[in-house]
């Protein structure tokens, strides 16, 4: 496979005893983007050597021209990796995963604070109420930002899926929503069938564990669906550029939500220490770990979203291909 049959240059074995690729192979490979070479370089070089072996000069010239044209194609497509759309897609995929985790953390906070004791504390203490209301408003704005970013992408992907019967797009469009609907149905069934009076009974713990595990699976399916659509859909560079705006708004809203959650917990501890130390946290556990866990998760997804948004914003300096 690596014999000296290119007729262009004499090649001696290197220190490891391997015969290096012919000069024309290395020259052609150098035309391809770095990321492309990292993924396909070795096998592409082997193919060039294999094809060049039996080829005479007219055929070899066609081979070289085709490989050079392939390099141009690789640089113009997202697979080339250096283009602006490819970078924004990666940022969008990261943010989509962060949003899924953000929603789970938000649902946990909502679940914990739906007890009447927390509502009463908010009525009695202005600091708790203000933090709680800021958090809710920021969460709603975050939802609006997610919709503003997701709907144009979804619309474009749906059009492509219908027009070209893109099964690679239809599949994630179906799997994500189906996973959520399936999970909600299972939760409804469990909620009706498991009603043990003791909170920490075996039946309740098993039910909660099933809901949590299936919920994690549904969340993973949603994240996969969003990432698959972002990666596979043919999205116009102009559309990708505009995605940075809702990502920036979302980052700001996430930061406000995280700050408001911290403020809410501190205000609750200062104003109603007994409630803060009670067992009214998630799954009837202590409030401080539930609150601190939520804060940590929110802070983490906010940091991830901010980093992805900054990366995407930096690519806007790159001219569109």
């Amino acid at each position: 496979m690596t014999g000296d049959h290119d007729g262009l240059t004499r090649r001696d074995p290197d220190a490891a005893g391997r015969i290096p690729d012919p000069v024309f192979v290395r020259a052609l490979l150098s035309l391809y983007p770095r990321r492309w070479r990292a993924r396909y370089g070795a096998e592409f070089a082997a193919l060039l050597v294999d094809m060049a072996g039996p080829a005479r000069w007219p055929a070899r010239a066609c081979l070289i021209a085709d490989a050079a044209a392939g390099a141009l194609d690789a640089r113009l497509t997202a697979l080339g990796g250096s283009a602006m759309p490819d970078r924004i897609r990666r940022s969008m995929a990261t943010v989509a995963c962060a949003v899924v985790v953000f929603i789970i953390a938000g649902a946990g906070f909502q679940k914990m604070t739906e007890y009447s004791d927390f509502r009463a504390a908010a009525h009695e203490h202005a600091a708790i109420a203000v933090s709680f209301n800021i958090l809710r408003i920021a969460a709603i704005l975050a939802g609006v930002a997610v919709l503003a970013g997701a709907l144009p992408v979804a619309w474009s992907a749906i059009r492509q899926a219908v027009a070209a019967r893109r099964t690679d797009l239809i599949r994630p469009m179906v799997i994500g929503p189906a996973a959520v609907i399936g999970w909600l149905v299972i939760v409804a069934i469990i909620a009706r069938s498991v009603r043990h009076p003791q909170v920490h009974s075996a039946a309740n713990i098993a039910a909660v564990a099933a809901v949590a595990l299936l919920g994690a699976a549904a969340a993973a399916a949603c994240a996969w669906s969003a990432v698959a659509i972002v990666r596979r859909a043919d999205l116009a560079p102009g559309l990708l550029r505009t995605e940075v705006v809702p990502m920036a708004v979302l980052t700001a809203c996430m930061a406000v939500v995280t700050g408001a959650d911290i403020s809410w917990g501190l205000a609750l501890r200062a104003a109603d220490g007994a409630l803060f130390r009670s067992d009214n946290g998630l799954l009837a556990t202590a409030v401080p770990p539930s609150w601190a866990g939520g804060v940590i998760v929110l802070a983490a997804v906010t940091a991830v979203t901010a980093a992805a948004t900054v990366r995407a914003a930096r690519t806007l300096r790159t001219p569109a291909p």
């Binding site: 096998e43 294999d50 094809m51 596979r232």
Partner: protein, 106 residues
């Protein structure tokens, strides 16, 4: 002939058709396509198709054998190939039937 037909000689479809009977690496695909269809896929064309097919989940890479990496058609790729081949067959049947009818009337 197939080279003149543009989309019918779509390299992606040729790669899918070549992989339909089992995994192959790049050079084996070019030999198979040349022998079966008479189309010589260039290296840049072949890997442009492989990259797109892999990105869309229609083929998947297997562990490399030395420097050659075999590829395998996925279930989604097989469905895509079946749909495209069925469409091409309908066009071929239509064209052949009408040509035969035209010959019969002359």
């Amino acid at each position: 002939m197939t080279d003149d037909l543009g989309r019918w000689a779509d390299p992606s479809l040729l790669v899918l058709a070549s992989l339909a009977d089992g995994p192959k690496h790049g050079y084996a695909i070019t030999l198979d396509v040349a022998a079966q269809v008479g189309v010589q896929l260039g290296p840049g064309t072949l890997y442009g198709a492989i990259g797109r097919l892999e990105e869309r989940g229609l083929i998947e890479a297997l562990p490399p054998e030395q420097r050659r990496r075999p590829y395998r058609i996925t279930a989604a790729g097989a469905r895509e190939l079946a749909q495209s081949a069925a469409r091409m067959r309908r066009v071929a049947d239509l064209g052949l039937a009408r040509l035969a009818a035209a010959r019969a009337t002359t």
